[in-house]
């Protein structure tokens, strides 16, 4: 208990920078490992299953010569690690697919070409990312505000009708699948009442209004699901924190109850909420598969589903890379925020 007296806690900018660099290197290594695993699974699996990737690319009715050309051009005969290295190198450097005189240049960042649309995977990702990003960002804000607020009020009014109904609603929110609430809302607000229109496609040239109108229902549906969980989490954490000795100390100072809640209780309750939030955000940035499928939003999740069902290996790889990167970065941000919130956490 009686530890030695340490100097002031604030980590210097240097330690923070060193920490950041170390963490970023760790992120890159982690993403590479994930990528290698995905690469191995998706490029070796067809082989083990007796399928030819060249056939997947060119189609079943291709001639032997054509398949040989595909193999040569995509480098499919090279050892796995060589193929992997070519793929990784292509991301920052760009890549040339060569089959004799037939040269296709894939500019950086090159993730290869889709087997189905023959578009560069990057183009697909580039179009899908903003959709997923907008979906995730809007839903996050909604669910954090709604979930945390509900949780706090529930904790403060524990045992009352308010608390009970909020928690029952939350239980519903957690247990109802997105496609159910999504279809229900679409049925009511799009088809029945006609209040909102959902665009078939979302692109950068669509107006803000179109984006908002298309995303509002997915936001609500996704936020409802998560807000429910956050409300329960916040309530439980708040109840625990409110029993802490330092909350009693804050009251003993003569602080108004609102200040006790805001400054003392909520600040402590943020830590576990932040942990879960970081993970959720990361997962969400990899594509909210069910939500995107339900609302037919051309985000990463929908691309992933389509790519998997059509065995479009390069797109699967690209989406996996995005998801892994998002989760790793979100975790890094959470760890940094920990240090901001809790002075006992030391970076280093």
């Amino acid at each position: 208990m009686a530890g030695p007296h340490k100097g002031p806690a604030a980590a210097g900018p240097r330690t923070v920078l060193a920490y950041l660099i170390r963490r970023l290197i760790a992120v890159i290594i982690m993403v590479l490992v994930v990528l290698l695993a995905t690469f191995t699974v998706f490029f070796m699996l067809p082989k083990w299953a007796g399928q030819d990737i060249a056939v997947l690319f060119a189609g079943k009715n291709s001639g032997a010569e054509q398949l040989e050309g595909v193999r040569e051009k995509l480098g499919l005969s090279d050892p796995l690690l060589v193929q992997f290295w070519d793929f990784v190198k292509g991301i920052p450097m760009g890549r040339d697919y060569v089959n004799g005189s037939d040269v296709t240049h894939c500019p950086a960042p090159c993730f290869g070409y889709s087997f189905r649309t023959e578009e560069p995977v990057w183009t697909t990702l580039k179009d899908a990312l903003p959709v997923t990003g907008a979906l995730a960002a809007g839903a996050c804000v909604l669910w954090l505000v709604a979930g945390v607020a509900t949780g706090v009020v529930s904790a403060l009014k524990r045992g009352t009708v308010w608390d009970r109904s909020a928690m029952v609603t939350a239980l519903g929110g957690v247990s109802l699948p997105v496609f159910f609430t999504g279809m229900l809302m679409m049925g009511v607000f799009v088809h029945n009442l006609g209040w909102v229109k959902i665009a078939d496609n979302l692109g950068s040239d669509d107006s803000l209004g179109v984006w908002l109108e298309t995303l509002i229902l997915p936001w609500i549906v996704l936020a409802f699901l998560n807000a429910a969980m956050y409300a329960r989490l916040t309530r439980a954490t708040m109840l625990e924190v409110l029993g802490e000795d330092y909350i009693r100390t804050a009251r003993a100072k003569g602080l108004a109850e609102s200040a006790v809640i805001r400054k003392h209780a909520l600040r402590s309750a943020m830590t576990p909420i932040l942990t879960v939030f970081g993970l959720d955000l990361g997962v969400l940035m990899g594509g909210a598969v069910l939500t995107e499928s339900t609302f037919n939003l051309p985000g990463l999740g929908l691309q992933a589903v389509n790519a998997i069902s059509s065995k479009d290996l390069p797109v699967i790889l690209g989406v996996t890379l995005c998801a892994a990167l998002a989760i790793a970065l979100a975790n890094l941000v959470v760890d940094l925020l920990y240090a901001v919130i809790d002075p006992r956490v030391r970076l280093g």
Binding site: P8, G254, A256
Partner: protein, 365 residues
């Protein structure tokens, strides 16, 4: 209430319902009950005492005797923020500086907390917020009650840290609780409690969580500060040694009630209740023969839901059968005057108690 005022009047107890007292702090027939699923927990059940400025009252008793509940009750912390939970039921009167607190507007009481009455808690590590620096927590306590800017409050915090003996206060003000040692944390806690010069300071086992070596320092500090600020101090402890030197008056609690009250001298040297004897016997003393063993109080604290009938201490009392007709098991003894300012709640005759104390107990201590 009729019963209480009757008995109270008989022994010169403060009477509930009478006009404002002259004493600085006066607690009259305080009851703090908590409804639970198992029944009503009567943590404090009819406690009365008074305290003047500059004086120290020691409240002594085992865990669960109602000491801490009493102190939180005075500060009004049982009712503050009891969200949805079944609230504590508090009755009686608490007069502080001529104001009655239990019937007062909670906002008024809130504004008195920290300014006119402050508290030092048992475990400074858990009682300080881990996310805020010491300075921030002290300035917060200051700025709630004083309309000053951040700089002035910070200066005040540094001044207080210096006063409680924290070295390099201008640097340590930015440290966090986890960067302090246990003793330092308790010093910071004291600085926080005293930042507004409160007239009443309640110290709830302020040294229990500390190293023995720093306990004496902290007690000295509290005593010095009390002299300097002239505050009334309530020192709550289970350790008679802690209050031996500090307290002017002692109040021994058992099962939520006062069993003995008097000047520290009287209670220490002429104790009139078997439970006080037990406490004294279980206290290690340096002048005791090494071969003699501590004498524990046998048994465990009573259930506060179903107190033993009669005297709450009777199942553990070696002398319970001395009074006739099993009265100790049937009738609750009232607090009766023994000598000037010295009260005891025991069925035994005073001669009998004095005899047992001088012949059987005192020689063994």
């Amino acid at each position: 209430m009729t019963e209480l005022s009757k008995t109270g009047a008989a022994v010169g107890e403060p009477v509930a319902g009478s006009p404002a007292p002259s004493a600085f702090l006066e607690v009259r027939d305080l009851k703090v009950h908590f409804p639970t699923d198992d029944g009503l927990v009567k943590s404090v059940d009819g406690l009365s005492f008074s305290l003047e400025k500059g004086k120290t009252l020691g409240i002594v008793g085992e865990s669960g005797s109602g000491k801490s509940v009493t102190s939180l009750g005075i500060l009004g912390l049982h009712t503050a923020g009891q969200y949805g939970a079944r609230r504590a039921r508090i009755s009686g009167e608490i007069w502080l500086g001529g104001k009655e607190l239990l019937g007062a507007d909670p906002t008024d009481v809130r504004k008195m907390r920290g300014r006119e009455m402050a508290m030092i808690f048992q475990d400074p590590l858990s009682a300080l917020h881990p996310y805020y620096s010491i300075g921030k927590q002290i300035t917060e306590a200051y700025r709630v009650h004083n309309d000053v800017d951040r700089k002035t409050a910070r200066k005040r915090a540094i001044e207080m840290l210096d006063r409680v003996g924290i070295p390099q206060p201008d640097k340590r003000v930015d440290s966090y609780p986890h960067e302090f040692s246990g003793g330092m944390r308790q010093r910071a806690m004291i600085a926080m409690a005293l930042v507004n010069n409160p007239e009443l300071l309640i110290a709830d086992e302020p040294t229990t969580a500390l190293d023995v070596t720093v306990q004496a320092q902290i007690l000295d500090l509290i005593r010095d500060l009390q002299k300097e600020f002239g505050s009334a101090v309530i020192m709550i402890t289970h350790d008679l040694g802690v209050v031996a030197e500090m307290a002017d008056e002692l109040l021994v609690m058992y099962g939520g009630r006062c069993v003995e009250r008097g000047t520290a001298e009287k209670v220490f040297y002429e104790p009139q209740h078997p439970y006080t004897w037990g406490l004294l016997g279980s206290m290690p003393r340096i002048d005791r023969e090494e071969t003699e063993r501590l004498i524990p109080v046998k048994g465990s604290p009573p259930s506060l839901i179903n107190l033993p009938s009669g005297c709450a201490f009777n199942p553990r009392c070696p002398y319970a059968d001395i009074p006739k007709d099993q009265i100790t098991r049937r009738e609750r003894p009232e607090l009766r005057l023994v000598a000037d300012g010295h009260y005891s709640a025991c069925h035994m005759a005073q001669d009998e108690r004095t005899r047992i104390w001088t012949e059987e107990i005192a020689p063994k201590l």
